[in-house]
Amino acid sequence: MRTSFTERFVDLAVSGFLWGFRILMVLVIVLGTFFTVRAGKYTGEQWIDFVVFGISQGAIYAMIALGYTMVYGILRMINFAHGDIFMTGAFAGYFAAVWLNSIGFVNRNPVLGLIIPILAAMIFSAAIAMLVEKVAYRPLRTAPRLVPLIAAIGASFFIEYSFRGFFGPGKYAYPPIKVLEGDWVIFGVNILKVQVVVAIAAFIMMAMLYSIVKYTKVGKAMRAVSENKDTAALMGIDVNRIIVSTFAIGAAMAGAAGVLYALVYRQIDWFMGFTPGVKAFTAAVLGGIGNIPGAMVGGMVLGIFESVGPSLFLEGLGITRAYQLKDVIAYTMLVMILLFRPQGILGEQLSKQKA
């Protein structure tokens, strides 16, 4: 086919631009790292601190990302309200923890004092997610793709501002847990106890989720539905029930993540779900959306990049207060992944229809 000069010019400009973008990113990373390492501002111990923080942060992202990935795998829909489901979990956990604290239960039995708020958060978040699915998403199953996304944005606002109405615009301080204060010495490095506990708890729960999806009947049905809804229905799977349980399981993970997040940051508020939500979506895309191990890997990669990145890549380039640009790194990673490898790190090759 004969193409006009302008068309060829535009095509050339596009590919040139994309290559320029790639080269720029590689340059920023390589040069930034080089100069930072040469300047030697941070000790090895500080780098380990960054990485450990990144791991616990990344584990939380991964837990939220699981919900995005599972729902996307089944419905091909971005559940924009998922970050707010995470927030509702944090609030449920908070009130449970405050109550347990007030009757002195946490000091008597610290392990259960940690587990009960997490369970409360999981149940509460799952309930909210099921309600949202029933009211906002289910009637739109067959609608064009933009329609459920808009409804999800609406649901996100509704949850956020309902909670703002219930609990006010202020921040709530999560009650301190004595056992988790201070740090442990692991391989000669001081590491905050909270971060270790949070990372371990996250890994246990992700392992549980993975085995549910891999080995139980419900998990098998979920995988079948995500392959093909109609065929799954013909095989006698109650597609509706499976979709609801996918929402519930994803939300339970997000709710638990909310409590873990509150343990690390020590405060919660009604808008806390937005940024982790977008970042967890980044993590899900990073690992390959629809892919459960991918979400876990994506979360960890994002968490570590975000925690190490500002100091490693940006400070070397002479950027002051690089930590302010932490979110910029996450969003840039999101855009880069969508541009250059939309199937993600572990993702299957997405067909154009799926993407």
Partner: protein, 578 residues
Amino acid sequence: MNKENFLWDAAKVGLLGGAIGVFLCLIGMVEIFSKRDVVEGVITLGQFVLFATSVSAGLIAARRTSDVLGQTQPSQRLTAGLVAGLLTDLLVTLLVLVGNQTNVRAVFLNASPALYSLLTFGQGLSGVWILPVIGAVTGLIGAAFLLLPESIRRPVSRGVLFLIFMALFSNLFRVVLINQGAVWGVIAKRLFGQTGLTLLGAILFFIIVAGYNAFWAMRGSNIRSRLNQLPKNRQVGLRVGLYVLIALIALGLPQVSGPFIAQVIVIISLYILMGLGLNITLGFAGLLDLGFVAFYAIGAYTVGLLTSYGPFGLQHIPFWVAVPIAVLVAMLFGAFLGLPVLGVRGDYLAIATLGFGEIIRLLAGSDFLAPFFGGPQGVIGIQKPCFGTLSAFLSVDTPRACNGLELNTPQDIYYLAVVSALLIAFIAWRLRESRLGRAWMAIREDEDVAEALGVNLVQTKLLAYMLGAAFAGLGGAIFTVLIGSIFASSMQLLVSINVVALIIVGGMGSIPGVVVGAIALIGLPELLREVSEFRYLIYGLILIVMMQAKPEGLWPSQSAKRELHHADAENVTAETMV
């Protein structure tokens, strides 16, 4: 058996209504709305919201009886309404009883003694019976309303709606009218109170609107056919007369209404500009951009940096020169951000653009770029637009004098904003009818087919981004001179979401829809201070409900209407086949 069935159904409706009532109480809506009246001394807005819940519960329960029973007696409908209304308010009363026993406030901030006193009408625990009784009565009213013939129902419901509308804006009307002089002031004080309508005003407005509707229902078709029978030139003359009248009102409005309303209209116009821009990328070409605020920010910062007399001012050129530059820069950025995401489709595009928008905001507000963009302190001291010559730039922080007409107040900026919005609406309309517009719509419907038919995807999509960005850039430029300063923190994702929402509510791809959406979603909450607390809650609800009930929007474009109803028809056939 049947009888039990329909009562149980009504009870379920009532419990749902009660849950909604408790929700409204706990998010604080009832308490905050109680500070406003619908009719002074008769009913507050908070009470109205609660009563509306039980009336609706009664109405819905009464309507559902026919689903359960098939044929219904009026008495059965009334019973259903009564049960539903009673249960709705019983549940709300339960909140008071529980709240008296335990400290609900430890969890829910709004479960306060003030709320309990509102719910018991100031009687304390001895007043708990009042609300359920009212609930039963209002439920009964809801059910009875259903029994009325359509010719009465419609005027009554319209009349009540108009009455609420007037009550919400009562104080605004009052102030505006009092400013018009003594005679108007006297009338205003008779009709409008400070917190709501007076009894006289309420009755008057209700009668006017209900009467008008009843009259129109009887004679409307008659009048319309008589209008159609007029000779052609008379019809055109009437229409031109109507437009002239609207134009005159638009010209005079800011002078009459004062700066507050002028400013609200400027903000509406800005959102219309952005909405028209996003309408090109989203409505015409089907590319969902959740980072639209980026272009708005670019327009604002360009004008700010080029015209400011503050420390970050670069060029000190007049506004009129800076605006075309800002629009061009926004277009360039549109291409710049559009290029990489060309190959990204659907939901991924939404998230990628969201990422872009956030990157721009974070960079503009960061200390890293603060030497250029002012960081969190922002860019201040932006020169107002001036018709005439500006005096020379002397030193930082001294505004330059304008030798001529300077657009200083919101009333002045109003004309700028409205004229820009009209101009851009005209351009958008012509674009839609052009070859390019048809290419956009072809892409929206099916990219692959459009490409096969010879639409150059790269060029067409890039143009959609660039033109959309240009419109938003103009919006940003006008916003800058209205406020006189720019802060990165005002470039929130919320702005992007607002724009998406107003397009969806107005009707995707429809130009009048953008105007309707901007007035409904931006204008009304700006005017209603009490509602603004719950603005985004109502927003979220509107988005969810709209997507189910009316996904094509309030003022849909022809193609969207056709398509969505076509899809409905398809679903129906699919279901019947199963």
